[in-house]
Each structure stands twice: as C-alpha cells, then as structure tokens.
Amino acid sequence: MWTIEAEGLRKSYPKKIPLPFRKVEWVEAVKGVSFKVKKGELFGLLGPNGAGKTTTIKMLTTLLEPSGGTARVLGLDIRRDAREIRRKINLVAEGERTLYWRLSAYENLKYFARIYYVPKREERERIETLLKLVGLWERRNDLVMNFSRGMKQRLAIAKALINDPEVLFLDEPTLGLDVQSAIFVREFVKRLVKEEGKTVLLTTHYMAEAEELCDRIAIIDHGRIIAMDTPEGLKRLVKDEETVEIRVRELKSQSLGESPFSMAVIEDDTSTGTVRLRAQVDEEDLPRLVEWLVKRGAKVLSVEKMEPTLEDVFIKLTGRGLRD
C-alpha cells in the first residue's frame, strides 16, 4: 500500500470570493498531478515559486478542497476522512508565523499537544523530548518572539512532531534560514526518515536541497509534474549533453528569451554586473553560443564544463531556470 497516492489532482482558485449570485473566474493552479509515495520515503516536489507545490501540499493535508482528481494519505480519502488524516500527519508550513510569539516554546508545544489530543500522561515527556531533540530545552521558557528565525523553525518542526505523525509534510522548510540552521533542518529531516521511519513529502525550490535529501523527486512547473525519478535518474536526462557554465558581463537578460539554446540565468550579481548562465550545448555548438552572446553585447569572462545538476534537468525540460 502507498502512503500517499495522488491521481489527477487539480485545484482552481477563484479570482474573487465566490459569493452567491456572483460570477467568478477561476484560475487553475494545479492541473492534474499524479504521484505515489511509499512508506519511509523522502519524496520531493521541486519547482519554481508559483508552480503549485504549496497548493498540492495543502490539498494533501486536507487544508484545501481539490477541484478534481483523488488523493489518499495512509489509505484515507482526503475529502471524506479529513479528521482521521489530520490525526496521523503534520505539516511544517512555509514562513515563520505558525507559532504563537507571545507564548514560550514550552507553552506553544503544550497548546498543540492539547489540540492534537496527546494523552495528558505523555504530554510532559513528549514536549521535553522534542525540545531536547531540536536543541531548545534550555530556552523552553523564553517567548518565541525573542527567538531567531532558525530557532523558530526548529520549534515549528518540534510542533509538527507533537502528534508523532506517520507522514510529515514540509513546505519549503529551509526558506529564509541562515546556512547553519538550514543544515540543522536538513540533517534533522534525514534522521526522521532513516531512524524514525517517517514518510516525508517536502517541497523546495532549492535544487541542492532536493538532491541531497530526496529519494525521489517530482519536478513541477505551471501546475504539472514534468518529470519524476530519483535524483540520479533525473540527471540522466541530461547526461548526453554538455553542461557549461558561462560567466558574462553586460548581458541584457531579456535577450535570453530569443536564444536558440537551452540556457538559463543561475545568478545575476547586480553589484558587479556579472551574470552566471548554464546551458546545454554539445561541443560543436559551443562556439556558436559564445558568438551569439557576444553579438548581444555580452563580455564573456569564462566558460566551464560542469557536472549536470537538477537545474540542468529543469532547463532542459522547460527551457528556463528555476529562478526565472
């Protein structure tokens, strides 16, 4: 049995609140997403902002009513069995405002333990274990408002484990975190899967994160899954092509739209005017690509052959980068 099964899941949002007697236009955010996740798997939804990742996660966690398709979590239907699903899952939502800032770390977990019906006799021990696990036991009586962004995220993870969920959903868990906090979160998630046997569905737009953490990845764009495999399997999609990284200066990025090559901006450093591009070209086409850039006024600083990454897969599949 699959832990998560989504079949043709669709979601449309109204442009205005659908009040009675009001004609409303709808925008389709998720356009028939299908995938399956097995028990103990760390599955990633990778895609740019607005691709439909959060909407998909909100449907699977029963926070949003799907417009079409079906999905089951732990064998339970997301439409019919919402309350039963909520007992067995939890979510680390995007953003830092999912906790009560005017309560202490301990008070926050105590409140969530109560609304998750954690038995009273287990409550204290579970809160202590979780706070120790995320390294916040010494700060348990401090108000959350005095915590750093990284500490708040660690507490949000502890909160998401309060009901000992079988499935954990993580929506952009390292977004906006400093390097150290992001490393902590990634290591913690790995341990949850390996040592605790949790099933994790994670959304991210960081390729390195998806590659490092996920057993399998679905690349999602414009509400559709465009590829799904292990990180290695996905990278095989671009193995026959050369991946090059080109550093240029004085390039007008809008001119990339006319490019006949699969190419995307990786980094645009406005302070130095330097742009890093990644492109998939074979050896014979490389001089033509450089010539094309020079003709558009770019000064080519360096060209380097690279190992393919998930970004290259995305560029190959969509013709643009994840950050575009």
Partner: protein
Amino acid sequence: MILAVVEKEFRMFFRYPLRVISSIFVGIVFLLQFVYFGQAVLGGRYSTLLEASTGMGDYPTYALIGYVLWWVSVSPMEAYVWGVRRELQRGTFETNVLSPARLIGLLFGLSLSWLLMDSTLMVIVFVMGVIIFKIPITAIIVLKSLPAIAASLLAFLGFGFVFAGLVMLLKNIGPFAQIFEFAMLFLSGVFFPLTVMPAPIQALSNLLPLTHSARIVRALFAGEGYFAVGDSVAWLLLLIPAYWAIGYLLFRWAERTTRVIGYGGY
C-alpha cells in the same frame, strides 16, 4: 481542547497589561458620556416621561442596564470576529485548522476566552457604574436578572458563528460587525425608549434578543416579575434557537467556501 484555547488566549491577553486597563477605561468613558448626555437632555437624573414610557424613571439605572446587556450581547460577536482575525493576523489559524480538533470547537474556545475576559471587564465597569451613579441595587435583583442576561448572551453566542465564518472567508469584516453592533445599540432601546422610534423600527426591534432581555431586566429592577413581561420572555425563547440555526447554517456555508479558497493569512 476548548480549555486549552482558553488558557492560551488568557496567557497572551494578560501579557499585555495595558490592553486590560484600556478596555476598562473605554468601557467606563463610553457609559459616562451617554449617562451625562441623557441627564442633560432630561434635565436631571429622574424623568417622569421615561417612567411613563418604560416603567423606569431613573435614567442612570435605565442606561446602565441597557449598556451592560448590550456589552454582554455583542461580546460573543466581537469575540468571534477578533478571535479569528487575531489568529489570521498571527498566521496561526491554518495551523489550528490542520489539527484533528473540530474547527467549530476551536472557534467556540476562542469566543469563550474573549467572552470571559469581556465579562470580567464588564463586571468591573458595572460595579463602577453602580458606585458612580449610586444605583439602587440588591443581590436578589441581580440574581433574578441573570437568566435574562444569560438568554441574551446565549442567542448571540450562536449568532456569532456567522461572524466567525465571515471573518474566515472575507478576512476583514470588523467594520461590518461594528455596523451590526451599533445598529443593535440603536434599535434595542439601550439609551432611549423605543417608543420614540417609528412603528416599523419598533417592530424590527422585536427581532433582537437584546430588546427583550433589556425590557425584562428593567422590569425586574422596577420590582416586577418575569410574568409581567411574558411576551418578551416568549420572544427570547423563540429567538435563541432561530439565532443558533442561522448562525450555524451560515457558518457551515462559509467554512465550505473557505476550504475552496484557502484559510490563508491576513
């Protein structure tokens, strides 16, 4: 679970001591200005005109009863509106919805918390009003009034679900709720007798539980019993289930619609 919500809200409320002080201050100032304004218009504390139309001639007592009852009646609506809105603003509403606890229970907990806090503040304002205006009051009258006060509260506790649903759906409905609350203040004879209003407005005021609970309590203060205002008692008994039914049905509609568009932030 409801107690957990109450405990959480109390903790956060009392971490803002200034808010407690400001709530009491606003409550008493609002009352004082109406009582003094009324006395200025009536030419003194006692009015035979008022007694002829309402059975109660002492204006401060008349106004204090109406005011306290109005406060009690609007506080569930305020509690739902601001309770949900605060959760939306904090960004914690969705986290609560995600839990296996029933949403209606969580909202009831929120409302109950603010209701308790409001009632405590209201008691303080009431006692201050009694002292300032030397209101003739006995424990028996207060005890006899409690069922009428509770009935009004109960009706609006159910009706408040409408506002909880609307806040979830439309997010910013504070101004709409205030229009309703002040319309109620105007239409229920809180600070002046309804007999001065046109007949259609008087008929409309019958649909507000506050009109009847105020009439009952004033009758009790004037030394009469519940039987003397039997028609208002009957109205109250009719309005309580009606308000609950309307509140619940509209809430369910709002909840379903919100699940389509998302609970979102503020």
